[in-house]
Amino acid sequence: MNSVFSNKTAITIFVLPTLLIFCGIVLVPIFVSSYYSLLDWNGVGKGTFVGLNNYAEMFNDPRVLNSIKNSLLFAAASIFIQLPLSLLLALILASNVKGEGFYRTVYFIPVLISTVVIAQLWSKIYNADYGLLNSLLESIGLSHLAQDWLGQKHTALVASFIPTLWQYVGYHMLLMYAGAKSISNDIIEAAKIDGASRIRTVFSITLPLMRPILKVCLIFSVIGAFKVFDLIYVLTNGGPFFTTEVPSTLMYTTIFDTYRYGYGSAISVFIILECLVFTVIINKYFKTE
């Protein structure tokens, strides 16, 4: 029996191809990126080793700092607007409301759509001449508010956050819904018998028991904000005047438009570290055990 389940040949056949492709494409490149980040290199020939110079330059580069600030704003908006809204929807849907399945299905649809499509769609919604938003404003008599939403410095960042909110609210809703539904009905019933109001039950029973899933949502939205690329790349490509630039789009332009391979790699390493650090912090302050 044991000889069957410890068949060395079978294990090799089962594991080796996966391990090779995984290490070659996912793991090794991280180390390679870290190495590139120590070079001054334009992709042609050999780069010169410059140590941590790229990192030093990064933290003095207003464009990098600005992109980091933007991604932090994205993260903050996700935490303080998207997650509470998702939570509210999840709690309502989990409370046996009429049409539960229908709403869950509809809210989730934007999650599945390619971000490229979403970005194109919203750039049409925001369009100054024939966009949906401006014509809606006109039809309710607020035409003085109509403007070029993505083209102006003071509206562009907010305007590019809203599609993300729209797209992922359903995703967080679904996760939280699943979390809320997994709470045993007995506990809720017991609270009811003890005379706890609905609101009280939510705050004292449901939310504490949902901690693990809330943590997952928190991590996802923060990391998602740091990694956001598709939407910005298609919607504004960082413009106007870098007001919507985020680290990933800056990394992309640095590498593929200005051919600063080393500097771009330093930014990509920064993104990985940023994600890692925040995951650890959230895990630490949001202990679930």
Binding site: V4, F5, N7, A10, I11, I13, F14, V15, T18, L19, I21, F22, C23, G24, I25, V26, L27, P29, S33, Y36, L89, V97, K98, G99, V106, Y107, F108, I109, V111, L112, I113, S114, T115, V116, Q120, L121, K124, I125, D129, Y130, G131, L132, L136, S139, G170, Y171, L174, L175, A178, I213, V216, Y233, V234, I255, G264, S265, V269, I271, I272, L276
Partner: protein, 285 residues
Amino acid sequence: MQVVLQKKRNFTKYIGKILLQGFLIIVAITQIYPLIWLTFFSLKDNSEIFSGDVAGLPQKFLWSNYTKALSDGHVLTYFFNSVLVTAVSIILVLILSSMTGYAITRMKWKLSGLTMTTILLGMMVPIHAALLPLFMVLKNLGLLNTYWALIIPYVAFGIPMAVFILGSFFNGIPRELEEAAVIDGCGIYKTFFFIVLPLVRPALSTVAIFTFLSCWNELMFAVTFINKASYQTLTVGMMSMVGTYITQWGIIGAGLMITTIPTIVIYLLLNKQVQKSMIAGAVKG
């Protein structure tokens, strides 16, 4: 008194329910209306888009936008490429990760724990990290502008999640089933392919859906590794299409719809399974 109070309570309850439904319906409209608008948009011509009723139904349903997008706009090519790349990626992810997940969770060898940890580490790696090194490798191997330039990375980045999901399903299979198979004379391959794999069919479809969504919608690799129109996938194709048809919005709208429809159809058909797979993808601890 009692009756009046009861009535009053029923009334507030009733109003509350209506308000709640109203709120849920407004959210539902917000979530779905932009897509309906896109559908209308894709059936209009320029003059109607620019001057007509922006929000309303098209006066005449211009299906020719779709045929134009498919033929002139290369959308058919993009579509084919997306289907090919996505399908091959899904098949490879399923084969590789089910074998590996099985070997790690159910077979006995020293390094299984370490292998699992290594692979799961991959779930934390943002694809940004690998972009430039992969670009250099693919360039040096002459693989840029081939299907493999997308399939190989998609498979590699799909593996961690797939191994995780399949692994936890394999763990749930009773040992006795495998042992009975072996006693009946099955070798390890037969046991795996004919006994174990059919048992985890739901997990396989979960992984397939997950892989479908990430490959079908992926942009960063697709835009970096492919610049020949004949190999572009829908996401990249849409971007170049916007450049070409800059003045013909209806056609672009049709292209966007063609990109979206397969996903929506799959979702509406496999609604529960899709939602399950998204939850499974998140609850990785």
